[in-house]
């Protein structure tokens, strides 16, 4: 209960600001159309119910959200659940791919100096290239290689954003055992494999989970960006794009809300897994 109150307060404040912004941003259109002078309450009531508002009011978005989430069959192309599922499955694929890539690269970097010297700069450069510029190229290149559909390129774009936090966290985590613990392994003449599985990897688990929380959010962003370039018709990103093309702000905003809800759920799931794992591994008391 104590956690809910601050969250609700923030939510209320956001909704309040949102309404104020909607009135402010939509009033120009109201005043343009009017024949004569309008009272303040006339302006307000008009800004709340325009068909193509600059900024739809929360209740308009909620109505659209309700319609496309609860009142539409989930198999329908108009259902946000359908599009959310497309985005989710792609996000999970990208997350898995990115996590595995990040961990493997971290292992290489920690164990081999040449790998570290050659890989790390590229990993950093990879994150300085705007993904929006890269995404269409990945789609085109993969299409020319004969990969059908959007699922694979989307997962790759998603993994591209997701692997980096995992890489950075895991390098730190795998390096976290101190000299004494490594020396102890040496006194038992443990093999590299044994030191990895019994010391380095378990020590890195807290770092891994922290990275996974960032990684899953990044994977979702990557997937949505992968759904934006023209041609996509499925997924939350595509809904945002189509809403924009057809001048339907309610569609854009309800897709955005769906993406936010999805992000919240995904990060929460990883957090819960983290809490459970930390408890069971004795890191948390």
């Amino acid at each position: 209960m104590r956690n809910v109150l601050p969250v609700l307060t923030v939510l209320l404040v956001i909704v309040g600001i949102w309404y104020a912004a909607a009135i402010w941003m939509n009033s120009a259109w109201t005043i343009d159309r009017a024949d004569g002078p309008l009272t303040f309450s006339e302006i307000v009531s008009d800004t709340m119910s325009q068909d193509r508002p600059r900024l739809p009011a929360p209740h308009q978005v909620w109505a659209e959200f309700q319609k496309t989430v609860f009142d539409t069959k989930v198999t329908s192309k108009r259902s946000l659940v359908f599009h959310g599922w497309i985005t989710l499955s792609s996000t999970l694929a990208g997350f898995a791919l990115g996590t595995v890539t990040g961990i493997l690269m971290a292992v290489g970097i920690v164990y081999s100096r040449p790998v570290s010297m050659s890989l790390m700069p590229w990993a950093i450069i990879s994150q300085t290239i705007p993904i929006v510029a890269l995404a269409p190229m990945i789609i085109v290149v993969l299409a020319s290689l004969g990969v059908d559909g959007r699922a694979v390129p989307k997962a790759i774009i998603s993994a591209y954003l997701c692997y980096f936090p995992v890489l950075v966290g895991m390098v730190k985590g795998l390096k976290s055992p101190d000299a004494m613990q490594l020396d102890l392994m040496k006194t038992w003449s443990a093999t590299g494999w044994q030191s990895f599985w019994r010391l380095r990897f378990p020590s890195s688990v807290p770092y891994l989970f922290t990275s996974l929380k960032v990684g899953i959010a990044a994977a979702l962003v990557g997937t949505i960006v992968g759904e934006l370039p023209t041609g996509a018709v499925r997924g939350l990103g595509a809904r945002i794009l189509i809403g924009d093309q057809f001048g339907n702000p309610m569609m854009i905003w309800s897709a955005l809300i769906a993406a936010a809800v999805l992000a919240g759920v995904l990060v929460t799931v990883v957090s819960v897994m983290q809490t459970v794992a930390m408890k069971r591994m004795g890191f948390a008391r």
């Binding site: 102890l184 038992w188 044994q194 591994m281 890191f283």
Partner: protein, 258 residues
């Protein structure tokens, strides 16, 4: 027969600020079943010497044999157990799991592992704590678990680097008593680094006094105390005489500084 033998041992670290002579002309023989304490001010090379014996550091001169082999061969034949100042238990393993760790690494059969874990935990008086996690134990108990871990496999040398340095006096007294009885029962050869004169005198059959810059041995005292040592032996005349000689040795080492 000597278990550890150092002749003209020398170790110079090359650092950015120039060479550091951590050990110079160290000659020492440790016999089987000896309890040897190393005492001296910080930076006199106690840890370095222990690490050389453990094969964790490579001397730059002289010879060192452990169990008749080079230190590195001895390390690979798992000749010793090493106890650090910090217990360094894995938080994700239970006490039993921690003690079992070296046994897993050395590939002991499953059934034998649990026998050994039970036996060494009894030796350090931690029976009944098998399923506890490290954070559920006090500092002294954690250190006892780390000693059990070093004893779990059949190394007949125990190297201990200020194992009780971070513990309070009362716990320390108790652990010292326990360590002596453990040593008597297991007949291990123990090399023990300490800062405390009473601790060194109480525990040892041989006390090695060291001094810094360069790290070297200034005195080796063979203790005349009996093997059976109740805590109140520390008030005996003999004990105080040995302690006095250690103190003199430490002071003589320091004279070079002034």
């Amino acid at each position: 027969m000597s278990v550890i033998e150092a002749k003209k041992l020398e170790l110079t670290f090359q650092t950015n600020d120039g060479p550091v002579h951590a050990l110079a002309d160290v000659n020492l023989e440790i016999g089987k079943g000896d309890f040897v304490s190393f005492i001296g001010p910080s930076g006199c090379g106690k840890t370095t010497f222990l690490r050389c014996i453990a094969g964790l550091e490579t001397p730059t001169g002289g010879t060192l044999s452990v169990n008749g082999m080079t230190a590195d061969e001895a390390r690979r034949s798992r000749a010793y157990g090493y106890v650090f100042q910090a217990a360094g238990l894995y938080p994700w393993r239970t006490i039993a799991g921690n003690v079992r760790l070296p046994l897993e690494i050395m590939g002991y059969p499953k059934a034998e592992m649990s026998d050994r874990v039970a036996r060494v935990l009894e030796l350090v008086e931690l029976s009944g704590f098998e399923k506890k996690y490290p954070w559920q134990l006090s500092g002294g108990m954690q250190q006892r678990a780390s000693i059990a871990r070093a004893l779990a496999f059949d190394a007949d040398i125990l190297l201990m680097d200020e194992p009780f340095g971070a513990l309070d006096e009362i716990v320390r007294d108790h652990l010292n008593e326990q360590l002596l009885s453990l040593w008597a029962r297991t007949e291990k050869t123990i090399a023990f680094v300490t800062h405390s004169i009473p601790e060194a005198v109480y525990l040892s059959t041989k006390i090695v006094v060291m001094s810094p810059r360069p790290g070297r041995i200034t005195d080796v005292i063979d203790s005349s105390l009996p093997k059976e040592r109740p805590l109140d032996i520390r008030d005996s005349k003999e004990f105080l005489e040995i302690a006095h000689r250690v103190r003199e040795g430490l002071r003589a080492g320091h004279a070079y500084d002034e």
